[in-house]
Symmetry: C2
Subunit: 685 residues, 2 copies
C-alpha cells in the first residue's frame, strides 16, 4: 500500500465524516467537487466553499494550447485552483460520443505529468439497462484498463471506477476486483442517466451493490451526482465524494438547485431560499440582469446551497441524526421516497455500519423509520435476553416507561390455562401485600409494547434508543402491523401471555392473535418496579450477549444510584476487603461503560475473538498504558464489533491489555491502516 | 366597515398569499413580524427583510421617557422603523406577571395617540389546559374589552385576539363573536406554551377551531409563533401573520433557528445552513467572537432563515405545492408529524378552501397524503359520475393510464354469477372482432385502482390530479388499506365485478373481499380505449355535477383532437349552419374551460344558485363586457364554489351575463369586500 490517504472521524448510517489527504492538502468529506472546465473557468469556486475540484484531463489533452500550458505550469495553474484536484480521463466524452482519441496509457501518463492529485483510468461507462452481455464485455475492458493504469502510474493516486450497468452482481464483482488492487478512490460510474430520470430505486441498487464490496478504507465518489436532493441519501449509503457541473449548467439554464428540488427562475415570484443571493435579490431583479451576471449569481446560489447541504450532512453524522435528515430529504420526490423504502432490503448490511449509540434521539418520520438499523438491531439483540415463563404486555406511556407506569390496574386478557390473575389476587389478599410489586411474581417478563421498537422489556427501558425516541401518538398502519407481527412471534416462547386491554386496542389486535381467551380485572393497583439486579443483568445480556449479565455481576454485587435521578450509576462487587467497580451505567444512553473489573470479567466470559481487538507486539506497551489504538496496529478483531461499542484490547495470546470504545466497526478496523480504531478507556493490565 | 385592508392573491390548502394595506404601506402575507423591544432596538430588521414589525405599547406606556418620546415623535420614530407597525397591549406582561398597571381603555387610546398602524385591546391570555370555568370567565372579559376597544378607537385599526384556552368550542365561539365586530386583524392568542412544549396537536385544534369561525377577509396572526418549523403548517391552516422575538432571544442564547429544528452553536462543528452568515463563518469563529457581535450574526441568520422560509411558503402557495412543503416540514419532529396526522379530522373544511386545480403535481409523501383535500374531493366527486352495471378493475400503470394500458389479457377473477368472460370470449370468436375493444361491452365501467386516489374511471384518467400525481412504487400499509376500503365500498353499486389478478396482489385483497369466486383467462389481448363521448360526459359530470355531461353535450357533438398528442382539445355542437364551441379541454390539467355555448347550456341545466356568482346592477354592464368581477359587487353566490373553478356570472334575475374562473371560494367571495372574485373569461350575453 503506497498511499494512506483516508481516515474516518465520525460515522452514522453507512455515512462517514472523514479526511482525505492529497499532495495539495487535506480536505473534509463528504464533499462536493465542482467540475471546472479547463478552458473557461470563470467562477472562484474556492470562495464559495470548494476544497477539492474536478477537471477533465482529456479536454486538456486534446487542445494543443491547454495541453502545453498544463504540461508547463501544471494543471493547478491552468485552472487557477491551488487545492486538491482530481482529473477525469475522457470516459464521459466516450459515453457521449462513443469514441475518444487517446489510449488509456496515454491519458494516465498525461494526468501524472500535469500534476493531478488523483487521476482516472479510461473506463467504459456502460449505461443503465443495457443487455447483460454488453455490460459484462465492457466491464472486462474497464477492469483491464484499471490494471494497466496501475502499471503506468508512478506517484499519481488513482481513481478506479465501478461499472456494471444496472446489474447489482456485476457492480459487486467489479467493486470486489478493483477493491483488491492498489487504488485510492472508487468512483461509482454511469449513474447520471439514472439520476436524470429520477430512477432512484436503481441508484440505491447500484450504490449498495458497489459499496458493500469496496474497501471501507477508500473514499467512494458518486460520479456526476451534483443535485443536493440526493446528497443525504447517497452519503447514508456510504458515498463520500460528489462531483458535478450542475451548479453552473443549471445556473446557465436559469435554474436553482435546492435540497428539495429544482426551481426555474422564470416561474418564481419569490426567492424560495435564504442564501445570500436569494436574500438580497427578487426574481424580477435577477431576470432583468444580463445573462452572464445572472448566471454568476445563480451559480453562487447553487454552490452555497450545495456546500451548505454538505455541512448539514456532516453535522448530522457528527450528531447521529443522519437518518432523520435522509428521511426528511427523501420526501421531496415520491421516487426518492421509493428509494428510501428500498433500503429495507439492505437492513442487515446497514446495521453493521450504523453505530448503536448516538447523541441524537431516534425520531420516527413514517413507515420507513421501521426499517432503520436501530429497529433491526433491537429485535436481533432482544434474542440475547433469556426468556421467562410468563409475559405481561403493557401499553406505551411516556418514557422511560418504568418511571411513568408506577402501577397497573384495569382490564386484562389472559390465556385459558393461565393463572396470572389468581396469583395476583391471592397476593393482593395477603395483608402485607398492599403494595404488591409485580416483580414478586416469579418468572414474569414485563414488556411495554410500543412503536417503533415493538417489544421493550421493562429492564431495558432506559437503554438507547429504547428510551431516546419519539413517535407520533397516532400510529400508521405499517407501525401497527409491524408491532403485531413482532409481538405474535415474541410470545411464542412463553407459556403464558397476559395483555392489558389497551395493548389490543392500540395495535388492532384480536384476542385470538395472542391466543387470549379470558378477560379479568386487576382491581387494586399493583406496583411496577424493576429489581436492580434483574435490570443490570438484562442490560448486560442485551449489550454484550447472552450470559454476560451473570458473568459480569457475579458475587456480592452492590448497586449505587444517583441521588438526584434515582437511576443506577455504578455497579461494584464487594469482595470483603475491597469494592471493585465493574461497570458504570452511562446516564446519557443507559448502557454500560466497562471498568477494569468489568473488562476482566467480560474477557474471562466471552470466547475469543468476541468483542476483541487484537493488537500487534509493537502496540502492546502503548495499549497497556491506556493509549488509543490506531488501526495500523490491529492484526485481528471480532468482525461483529460495531462502532461506539465497548471492546477488549488484547494481544495475540488473548491477554487483556486494555479496554475502550470502538471508533469503527469490525470490518473497518480490519480494512483501515490509518486513523483511530479504539479510543482506549484504560490499560494497566 | 371602515377599513378594507386585506386582499387574497393566491390560495393553496387553507393558506393565502395576500396583501395587507396599512397607513404606513402595503405588505405581502404570510409574513413574520419581528418583535422590537421599544427600549433597546439594535438590529436593522428592515435590512434583513422585515416589512412589518411589532412592538409593545405597554412597555412604552409605563416608561416615562419612552412614553414621552412616543407621544411626541410617534412610535415609528421611537423604534426607528418607517414601515407598518403593530403594537401589543401588555397582555403578554399580564400573562407573565398576572397584573398590569393600565386599563384597556387607556392602552387602546395610547396606541392610537402614538400612531400605531394596528393596535390591540387588553385581552386575557388564558393558558392551555386550565379549567373550563376559568377559560369561560376570562373569555367574557376578553370579549368585553374587545367591544370596549371599538368604542374607544378612532382611526386606529384593531387586533382582536381569539382566546379560549384549549377548548375548541370556546375558541370557535370567541372567533365567531369577534368576527362579527369591526376588527381588522385576528390574532390567535396564548399558543406559546403549546409551541414551547411541542404540543402541536393542540395547536392544530386551537387554530382550526378559530380560523373556521373567523371572517376569511381578515388576516389571522398566530401570536408568538416565531420558529420556522411551524410556519408552513400554520399557513396551511390559514394563518397569515407570525410574530416573535425568537430571532433575537435564540441568538442571545447561541441558538440557530432552522426550518427543521434548532441547533445549539456549542454543539456544532459545521454550520448546517447556507445563509450568508453560515456560509462565511465556522462555528469556531463564531464562538471566538465577543457575545454582542455573535448575537448580531446569529440574529441575522435567524431572520434570514425565517424570511427565506416565508418566501418559500409564499412561492409554494403560488405553485400549488404548499401541501408538499408542509409534509416535508412536518418530518422534522414526530410531534409535528402527529399534528399533520391530526388534519385528517379537518378534511371537509380544508377541502372547501383548497383549490381543485393547481399548477403542481400531487406528490405522495406518506400515509398523511391520503388525507389531503384532493383525495377527499375525488371520492366525493366520484359519486357524481353515474354508475354502470359492471365494473372491471385494472392495476395501475404509468399515467395517463389509457395511453399506457393499450390492451389487457391474462388472469382475472369474476363473480359466481358473472358473465363477463363469456361476453369477451364470444366476442373474440367473431371473426371481425380481432381487435375487440372493451368499451364495446355494454354498461361496463373500466376502472384503474391506484394510490392515492383508489378508483380512477378510465374516462377521467387525464383529469387533474388523477393524472398529475406521483407515488412510490412500494405501497405503505395505509395506502393499501385505504384502497381496499374505498374499493369494497365502490363495487357495492355494481351488479358484476371483474378484477385483474394484479389488483388483488397489489393491494393484498382476498377474493372474498370483492365477492369474487371464479378465475378465468383472457387469452387474446382485448383493446382498451375510451370513447370520446363517454369521456367528455364523464369529465363534465365529475367537474360540474351529475347530468352536466348530457346537458352540455346534447345534439350533434363534434370532438376535435390535438394532432400532436391525440388528446381532446375542443368540443363543438354542429347545428347544421353553424358549429358552436361548447368547451375546451385544458391540456395542462384535463378539465373543461367553458365557451359561451357551454356556459349557456350549463346555466340552463344547473338550478340556481349552483355555480353562480350573482353581481349587483352596478356591475352588470362591466360583467357583460367581460371585465373581471370584484368581490364588492357580488351580492350572492353558490357557497360550494371552490377557487379555480368555472363559474357563471349572473344578475339578480339569474340572467347569464358572463362566465369565468373563481379566484376565491364561495365563502370568501361572500365575505370579502376587496379584490377579485372572478376572473371573467367572456361576457357578451
Amino acid at each position: 500500500m503506497k498511499f494512506l490517504i483516508f481516515e474516518i472521524k465520525y460515522k452514522d448510517a453507512r455515512g462517514r465524516v472523514g479526511t482525505l489527504k492529497t499532495p495539495h492538502g487535506k480536505i473534509k468529506t463528504p464533499t462536493l467537487m465542482p467540475v471546472i472546465h479547463p478552458g473557461k473557468q470563470t467562477l472562484p469556486v474556492g470562495d464559495y466553499g470548494a476544497e477539492l475540484v474536478v477537471t477533465n484531463a482529456y479536454l486538456i489533452y486534446k487542445n494543443d494550447h491547454l495541453r502545453e500550458k498544463a504540461l508547463e505550469g501544471g494543471v493547478h495553474n491552468l485552472i487557477d485552483f491551488s487545492g486538491p484536484l482530481i482529473t477525469d480521463s475522457g470516459s464521459f466524452q466516450l459515453s457521449l460520443y462513443g469514441d475518444v482519441h487517446v489510449s488509456n496509457q496515454e491519458i494516465v501518463e498525461f494526468q501524472e505529468e500535469i500534476g493531478a492529485d488523483i487521476g482516472t483510468s479510461l473506463d467504459i461507462p456502460t449505461p443503465p439497462f443495457v443487455k447483460r452481455e454488453r455490460a459484462e464485455k465492457e466491464l472486462e475492458i474497464t477492469i483491464q484498463r484499471a490494471k494497466e493504469s496501475l502499471e503506468v502510474r508512478d506517484k499519481l493516486m488513482l481513481n478506479s471506477v465501478v461499472q456494471g450497468s444496472t446489474y447489482p452482481d456485476l457492480r459487486s464483482r467489479c467493486a470486489d476486483i478493483l477493491g483488491g488492487m492498489d487504488f485510492q478512490v472508487h468512483p461509482i460510474g454511469a449513474v447520471v442517466p439514472l439520476l436524470e430520470s429520477y430512477s432512484y430505486r436503481e441508484v440505491v441498487e447500484v450504490v449498495m451493490a458497489s459499496v458493500k464490496c469496496l474497501p471501507d478504507s477508500r473514499p467512494r465518489h458518486l460520479m456526476g451526482a451534483g443535485h443536493p436532493m440526493v446528497f443525504a441519501l447517497a452519503v447514508a449509503m456510504g458515498c463520500d465524494l460528489f462531483d458535478s457541473a450542475a451548479y453552473i449548467l443549471f445556473a446557465e439554464d436559469d435554474r436553482l438547485l435546492m435540497p428539495n428540488g429544482t426551481y426555474k427562475l422564470n416561474n418564481l415570484q419569490e426567492m424560495p431560499c435564504y442564501c445570500e443571493v436569494c436574500s438580497s435579490h427578487t426574481p424580477n431583479e435577477l431576470q432583468a440582469m444580463d445573462k452572464k451576471e445572472r448566471s454568476r449569481l445563480l451559480a453562487q446560489h447553487n454552490l452555497a446551497v450545495s456546500f451548505g447541504e454538505m455541512r448539514t450532512i456532516r453535522q448530522a453524522i457528527i450528531d447521529g441524526s443522519l437518518w432523520e435528515l435522509v428521511e426528511q430529504r427523501c420526501r421531496s420526490h415520491p421516487y426518492l421516497l421509493d428509494a428510501l423504502r428500498m433500503l429495507k432490503n439492505y437492513q442487515k448490511d446497514l446495521e453493521k455500519y450504523d453505530p448503536p449509540y448516538k447523541k441524537s434521539a431516534f425520531f420516527y418520520s413514517g413507515p420507513e423509520s421501521l426499517n432503520r438499523p436501530e429497529v433491526y438491531r433491537h429485535l436481533k439483540r432482544l434474542q440475547q435476553v433469556p426468556k421467562k415463563r410468563k409475559v405481561l404486555l403493557l401499553p406505551p406511556s411516556d418514557k422511560p416507561y418504568s418511571q411513568n407506569i408506577p402501577e397497573i390496574s384495569g382490564k386484562f386478557y389472559g390465556m385459558k390455562k393461565g393463572n396470572f390473575e389468581n396469583i395476583i389476587n391471592k397476593k393482593l389478599q395477603e395483608p402485607s401485600k398492599i403494595n404488591l410489586q409485580l416483580h414478586a411474581i416469579k418468572d414474569l417478563q414485563i414488556v411495554v409494547v410500543d412503536v417503533p421498537f415493538a417489544i421493550i422489556p421493562l429492564e431495558l427501558d432506559q437503554v438507547y434508543p429504547l428510551a431516546q425516541n419519539e413517535s407520533p401518538a397516532t400510529y400508521d398502519e405499517d407501525a401497527k402491523k409491524r408491532v403485531r407481527e413482532v409481538l405474535q412471534n415474541y410470545i411464542h416462547d412463553f407459556e403464558e401471555t397476559v395483555a392489558s386491554e389497551n395493548v389490543l386496542k392500540s395495535f388492532d389486535l384480536e384476542l385470538s392473535d395472542l391466543n387470549l381467551e379470558k378477560e379479568f380485572q386487576i382491581t387494586e393497583p399493583v406496583m411496577l418496579e424493576v429489581e436492580d439486579l434483574n435490570r443490570i443483568v438484562c442490560i448486560a445480556d442485551y449489550q454484550f450477549g447472552n450470559g454476560s449479565g451473570r458473568a459480569l455481576f457475579n458475587g456480592n454485587i452492590k448497586v449505587v444510584k444517583s441521588r438526584k435521578t434515582g437511576k443506577i450509576r455504578h455497579v461494584y462487587v464487594d469482595e470483603g476487603d475491597v469494592e471493585r467497580l465493574i461497570v458504570t451505567l452511562r446516564a446519557s444512553d443507559g448502557v454500560f461503560v466497562l471498568a477494569s473489573e468489568g473488562a476482566r470479567r467480560l474477557h474471562h466470559y466471552l470466547p475469543y475473538p468476541k468483542n476483541r481487538v487484537v493488537v500487534n507486539q509493537e502496540a502492546e506497551p502503548f495499549a497497556r498504558k491506556g493509549k488509543s489504538i490506531f488501526a495500523k496496529f490491529v492484526i485481528n478483531c471480532d468482525i461483529d464489533i460495531r462502532a461506539t461499542e465497548e471492546v477488549l484490547i488484547v494481544n495475540e495470546n488473548d491477554q487483556l491489555l486494555a479496554f475502550g470504545k470502538s471508533m469503527l466497526n469490525g470490518w473497518e478496523i480490519t480494512d483501515f491502516k490509518t486513523g483511530q480504531a479504539v479510543k482506549t478507556r484504560k490499560g494497566g493490565f
